[in-house]
């Protein structure tokens, strides 16, 4: 009843093209942002920051990145973990080589470096498609991790090959290193997530986004109507890797503080992020957040429920948690193959008709 677009007329094409054309949506969005920036930082504790919100935001960034590549441009990638590793190692090298430069610049540069690596590994996509490409991106995954493991220069010759994030500050606050407070971590990631989500939204609703979607939906037709597949695909790889690289850089420097390529950026990470975008919704920025939230929160919730509340043995709980998450994934796919974002959109569509059934 309250959810209406009637009476919400647009008088210019500019208004019509905005991100949230319906007023109610727009308000909701502003409210969420206000809470995220003005309320959460004051109430957050280190459990919520480290176990929930910071990983959620970082994974959301990675998911947006992968969503650009897979959801918008249709190139299935299983190399996300490897690209995150590039971001992490790039930021580590930059941080230790140029300690004076603000960390934010390092993080953005790490994204740029990852973008270049992404383009390199995107080249086969010009020939190889679909699942063949997905499997081919695994080559990037395994090769990159191997590289960071094998070449001591990347980990500054430390004995075990681990990298550790030294302390760096912004406006007098530590944002990396052990002294970082929960609000500082959270805000750093939040700013990146919001800005990047906004950029992703702009890119995907404009020319570049249409090129990507055209390639995704029917690459041959796209080429015949004038889309250059080379630039479209490679730009998708570049932008996507940029996002993923930043996520990797944040994951290492702000969230974990220490990392090792094969452990933190293994194949499981690639799958996890692919899960996020599919559960959340392919081709949807909102879905990237929803998917990340789902897969970060669900295990934590289940664990708390099964172990803390029901008092089950941890191993049994862990096995059953696997079963439940697996079953839920299947369940969600059956209910709505296009993810949480579509589920949300359909709910809204129904609300709009409400109280009429159709």
């Amino acid at each position: 009843m309250f959810y209406r677009e009637a009476g919400d007329f647009k008088t210019s094409y500019r208004d019509d093209g905005q991100t949230f054309p319906i007023r109610l949506d727009r308000w909701g969005y502003y409210a969420v942002l206000a809470v995220a920036f003005l309320v959460v930082p004051f109430v957050i504790d280190s459990y919520w920051a480290n176990a929930v919100l910071v990983p959620l935001l970082i994974y959301a960034i990675a998911a947006i990145g992968l969503n650009i590549l897979t959801g918008y441009a249709g190139q299935v990638s299983l190399g996300t973990g490897g690209f995150m590793a590039v971001g992490a190692y790039a930021v580590y090298k930059l941080m230790t080589a140029f300690p004076g430069v603000p960390i934010v610049i390092h993080i953005v540069l790490a994204g740029a470096i990852t973008a270049m690596v992404g383009v390199l590994f995107g080249l086969p996509s010009l020939r190889i498609k679909g699942f063949y490409l997905a499997v081919a991106t695994l080559a990037a995954q395994f090769f990159l991790v191997w590289l960071f493991n094998k070449v001591p220069w990347f980990y500054n010759y430390s004995a075990s090959g681990q990298i550790n994030a030294p302390e760096r500050t912004m406006f007098g606050w530590a944002v990396t290193g052990p002294a970082t407070t929960a609000p500082a971590k959270y805000l750093t990631c939040l700013v990146f997530a919001v800005v990047l989500a906004w950029i992703a939204r702009n890119l995907t609703r404009g020319t570049l986004g249409r090129k990507w979607m055209a390639i995704r939906d029917m690459d041959i037709a796209a080429e015949i109507i004038g889309v250059n597949p080379l630039t479209a695909k490679l730009s998708a790889f570049a932008v996507s890797s940029f996002f993923v690289g930043i996520a990797g850089a944040l994951l290492f420097s702000v969230y974990l503080g220490a990392a090792e390529a094969s452990e933190a950026f293994g194949i499981n990470k690639s799958f996890l992020i692919l899960f996020m975008i599919i559960i959340g919704g392919l081709g949807s920025i909102f879905g990237s957040f929803a998917g990340a939230a789902f897969l970060v929160l669900l295990p934590v919730l289940l664990k708390n429920l099964l172990v803390a509340q029901l008092g089950w043995p941890t191993d049994l709980a862990a096995h059953i948690e696997l079963m439940i998450v697996g079953a839920l994934i299947i369940f969600f796919l059956i209910v709505e193959p296009h993810g949480l974002a579509r589920l949300w959109a359909l709910t809204k569509e129904k609300l709009r008709l409400w109280p009429f059934p159709h």
Partner: protein
């Protein structure tokens, strides 16, 4: 109550190993609670949290449990340890990593909150070489030693030490990495078959161990010339290989089997009343014993801390003092019902790693058990000390730590 969280892993690729360790850890504290009413009158709680050997889950577990007044962490994962080192330093909670984790944490001047007695990886590497020296009348000149290692931070730990030792003793070292999980090791073992090294040292974990032992048996590499680090020397590693694994050797820094008086109490107070972790299927196994050993050291540190602080309800910071003043003598071990179970452990403000002693055990396939075949041996500190100093100082510089003590 005192809280000692058990960050365990009972699932995932290393679940089979993690389970046994976690059981030993739990059971010893259960024993103390049941028999003695805890330590100094305080019951010990060991809330368990599943990490699946995954660093992010490890962090989640750490955050979830640290609020409950956690006294010390023991995550049984080198990766998680690296993750937690900066965190425990900021939160001022001790981290106890016997036989794993960051080797240079031995330097207490830099790593105030991390303890890794009785032995670390480099100690292990050195003791293994020492053992081989002994076998060869003190001379390894011209011998060929191959290192088969888990291609990860953990597996790479001994390389530097072994390289230094090879310079000192004149053996040649060849390094053969195995990508985890490591079910396919044909290339590595064909290389060994071709190069015919005199000895193979193995730094594996999980399925890699048994595959390596199986492959060694397949190419008829003499088992007694193959030495595993302590993480490559448990029943799960040799049992699947069967009789062919007979004679395989591995390091250990604690005793094995149930021939210790403590098990009488264990049976009486824990196992028979049905209080054993998971019903006690692994009691007495190598990894179980190691979990128990970690619990013994922590319990002793708690006792020491209570003594120093004059209160039974100690804090994490007081426990650090307890660790730094810890001295587990052979007599004390006997008192605990564990005669000769481990080496003497003595930690100080600058030495968080103890003596570094470990010993050799050998698998007897027919009897289905490990037998100890050497005494506790000291590592070659001459080589190790500078390495540890170098690595820890580099870390201090990177992290901006001013050494203490």
């Amino acid at each position: 109550d005192l809280v000692v969280p058990n960050l365990s892993y009972r699932t995932g690729p290393y679940g089979a190993n993690g389970t046994q360790y976690a059981d030993g850890f739990n059971d010893y504290f259960t024993l103390l609670n049941e028999r003695d009413g805890g330590i100094g009158g305080e019951k010990i709680l060991t809330p368990e949290c599943e990490t699946a050997y995954n660093t992010e889950k490890g962090v989640e577990c750490y955050e979830a449990t640290k609020g409950d007044g956690a006294l010390v962490y023991n995550p049984l994962s080198t990766g998680i340890t690296y993750q937690l080192i900066p965190k425990v330093s900021a939160d001022k909670i001790p981290l106890y990593t016997p036989g794993y984790g960051r080797t240079s944490a031995k330097n207490g001047k830099v790593f105030e909150w991390v303890f890794n007695a009785p032995a670390n990886y480099w100690d292990g590497a050195s003791v293994a070489i020492k053992y081989l020296l002994e076998q060869n009348g003190g001379d390894l000149n011209g011998k060929k030693i191959a290192l088969v290692y888990h291609n990860s931070a953990y597996g790479k730990e001994p390389i530097r030490t072994l390289q230094e030792l090879s310079k000192k003793h004149g053996f040649t070292l060849s390094e053969l990495p195995v990508d985890p999980p490591g079910q396919e090791q044909k290339s590595q073992w064909l290389q060994i078959r071709r190069d015919k090294p005199d000895y193979v040292i193995m730094w594996g974990w999980g399925v890699m161990n048994q595959t390596a032992i199986q492959e060694a048996a397949n190419i008829r590499f003499p088992m007694e010339n193959m030495i595993g680090i302590w993480w490559s020397g448990s029943e799960v590693d040799v049992l699947p290989v069967g009789a062919a694994a007979n004679g395989y050797k591995a390091l250990t820094f604690h005793g094995v089997g149930m021939d210790y008086p403590v098990y009488e109490d264990m049976k009486k107070f824990v196992i028979e009343p049905g209080k054993a972790s998971q019903g006690g299927p692994h009691v007495g196994s190598v990894l179980y014993s190691r979990g128990m050993y970690a619990a013994v050291v922590i319990a002793e540190a708690i006792r020491k801390a209570q003594e120093l602080a004059g209160t039974s309800a100690i804090t994490a910071a007081q426990l650090r003092d307890g660790f730094e003043a810890l001295d587990i003598t052979p007599e004390r071990l006997t008192e605990l019902g564990l005669p000769d179970f481990g080496p003497e452990v003595k930690m100080t403000c600058d030495n968080h790693g103890g003596s570094g002693m470990s010993r050799m055990q050998q698998w007897d396939a027919a009897a289905g058990k490990w037998t100890l075949i050497s005494d506790f041996t000291e590592p070659d500190q001459e080589i190790l000390a500078p390495l540890i100093l170098e690595d820890s100082e580099a870390y201090a510089k990177e992290a901006g730590i001013t050494p203490r003590c």
